[in-house]
């Protein structure tokens, strides 16, 4: 019994290490075969439509509601200390530093990441990738790399739009609904938000999340067993793994970026 448990543990550990190795090799090969994604940028733009533009509705609506909730909660807390005018700072910094990149990435993983995995997995299951290979077209260069770069480019843009909508949501609730002074809301936000420390770090975070999510989604699709069950399992793994990766990476990046700030 104990022997069996240890054997199973060893087996699953080895399997995990193998998969991480394969994923790392996949990532390197994908980068090395990225020439087509830039030479024929139309391919990448087409994928940006599917991963980015089609994610806009969920990103914008979620951003608006998150901002509105921030406005309500922030006001409740700030008024205790008589500093309601700082609502603009609270909303903007929360969104630009954390919520924008993180929540947008989680939504991106659920909508675009799962779609990428399912599409690549089904292309594999229906032999479309093999057909491409037999037509002397490299599927990594033609199918995988354009989707990777589309995801990496789309992610910071989506995070920026999420933050912008969130700030607008905070403004609607804080200024228009509750009555916080509009001038104070915007001017305090403008003076407190630093381009390098806040906005640029937020952009770096969202680029890192974009790399992580699209790599996981593409690898899971490419590595999926060519069956209905295999593709469904890979899609689930994409959402779970990339969501956990986003949260873990966020902690690491935050520790490096904002440690000891002020």
């Amino acid at each position: 019994m104990l022997k069996q448990t240890i054997e199973n543990l060893g087996h699953s550990t080895l399997q995990s290490v193998w998969r991480i190795g394969f994923a790392a090799r996949f990532f390197v090969v994908m980068l090395l075969h990225s020439g087509t994604a830039f030479r024929r940028f139309g391919l990448t733009i087409r994928e940006m439509y599917f991963t980015g533009v089609l994610s806009l509705v969920i990103i914008l609506v979620s951003g608006l509601f998150v901002g509105m909730v921030l406005g309500l909660q922030g006001y409740e807390t700030l008024q205790t200390y008589g500093s309601e005018e700082a609502l603009g700072i609270l909303v903007a910094l929360s969104l630009v530093r954390e919520l924008g990149p993180v929540v947008a990435a989680l939504l991106f993983a659920s909508r675009a990441g799962s779609a990428i995995t399912a599409e690549i997995g089904l292309m594999k299951a229906t032999e479309q990738l093999s057909a491409m290979e037999m037509m002397a077209v490299d599927p990594i260069a033609r199918v995988v790399a354009p989707r990777f770069w589309a995801g990496v480019i789309s992610m910071p843009l989506l995070a920026a739009l999420f933050s912008a909508m969130g700030i607008f949501g905070g403004y609607l609730v804080g200024v228009q609904l509750i009555g916080v002074d509009e001038g104070a809301f915007w001017s305090q936000m403008k003076s407190a938000v630093d381009f390098d420390q806040d906005i640029l770090n937020g952009v770096i975070k969202s680029v890192v999340f974009g790399v992580a999510i699209t790599t996981i989604a593409l690898f899971e699709g490419y590595d999926a067993p060519p069956t209905a069950e295999g593709v469904s399992g890979a899609t689930t793994r994409t959402v779970v793994t990339s969501s956990l990766a986003v949260l873990a990476l966020d902690f690491v990046l935050t520790a490096f970026m904002f440690r000891g700030l002020n």
Binding site: E127, M134, A136, V137
Partner: protein, 270 residues
């Protein structure tokens, strides 16, 4: 290697992991011929096509196509060779997000700098050859199984290859589509000067169109000959296969303990 032979497979051994699939296969395909590779499911027929296309490499032996040893080619050489090959996958493997026209145009756009007007004419010619010029603007989801197979055939011959490989081209087709597909394979081979390798277990349909047949069983070639020789063959395996008999050298039952033991007829029931 004779110039007449487009494909030569010599003593090829291949397996997936510890499971051996091919145990010393020898096979030759002469230019201009339609060759059938037959055998029961899982005997390694499709693996043979994958070896010829360079998607997997033999553990032992050589696979030569047009004089080039496929296993020794680097990636660039392999891709150059594949431009001279076409492959029809079992269910067509059409790209589902683009139209029939764009599927057939795919290789022309990827591998040539032809102007779009010329590509249009070439695509319509290929679709006309398979009788589907009128379906150019349809999406793959709008096609029947037989039509999808024919579009895939038009795509496979888009670059005028010297070798076309067919993986189970008759699987799941109605009798009309079956006849149409069989005739197309023969007609395209003759008119375009191709060599065709057809992996199939549809004996009756394929024997009508092929020049030579290889029977694969348990990883080796167990019989070969022209269609007439195969029909007249007295070999038990070939006889069972050609006449579709349920039992014979290929047993009906999967290996199992004694039936009586399994039903516990001789012992005391718990």
């Amino acid at each position: 290697m004779s110039n007449d032979n487009l494909v030569e497979i010599e003593d090829v051994v291949f397996g997936y992991g510890a499971r051996p699939v091919l145990k010393g296969i020898n096979l030759t395909a002469r230019r201009g011929q339609v060759i059938a590779i037959m055998g029961s499911s899982g005997c390694g027929k499709t693996t043979l096509l994958r070896l010829i296309g360079g998607q997997v490499r033999a553990r032992q032996g050589t696979v030569r196509v047009a004089g080039a040893s496929v296993g020794e080619l680097d990636a660039a050489g392999l891709y150059r060779l594949r431009r001279k090959m076409g492959m029809l996958f079992q269910f067509g493997a059409l790209f589902t997000d683009i139209s029939v026209f764009d599927n057939v145009a795919f290789q022309l756009r990827e591998h040539t700098d032809l102007p779009e007007d010329t590509i249009r004419d070439l695509v319509l010619m290929k679709l006309h050859a398979v009788g589907l010029r009128g379906a150019a603007q349809l999406m793959p989801a709008e096609l029947s199984g037989g039509m999808a197979r024919r579009v895939a055939l038009a795509r496979a011959i888009a670059l005028d290859p010297m070798l076309v490989m067919y993986d189970e081209p008759f699987a799941g087709l109605d009798p009309i589509s079956l006849g149409v597909t069989g005739n197309l394979i023969r007609r395209l081979t003759d008119t375009l000067g191709l060599t065709s390798l057809v992996v199939t277990h549809d004996v009756q349909e394929s024997l009508k169109i092929v020049d030579y047949v290889y029977f694969v069983s348990e990883g080796v070639i167990v019989a070969e000959g022209t269609a007439a020789e195969i029909r007249a063959s007295g070999l038990p395996y070939v006889h069972q296969f050609v006449h579709g008999e349920a039992d014979g050298p290929v047993p009906f039952h999967y290996p199992a303990p004694s039936y009586a033991d399994d039903l516990r007829l001789g012992g005391v029931r718990a």
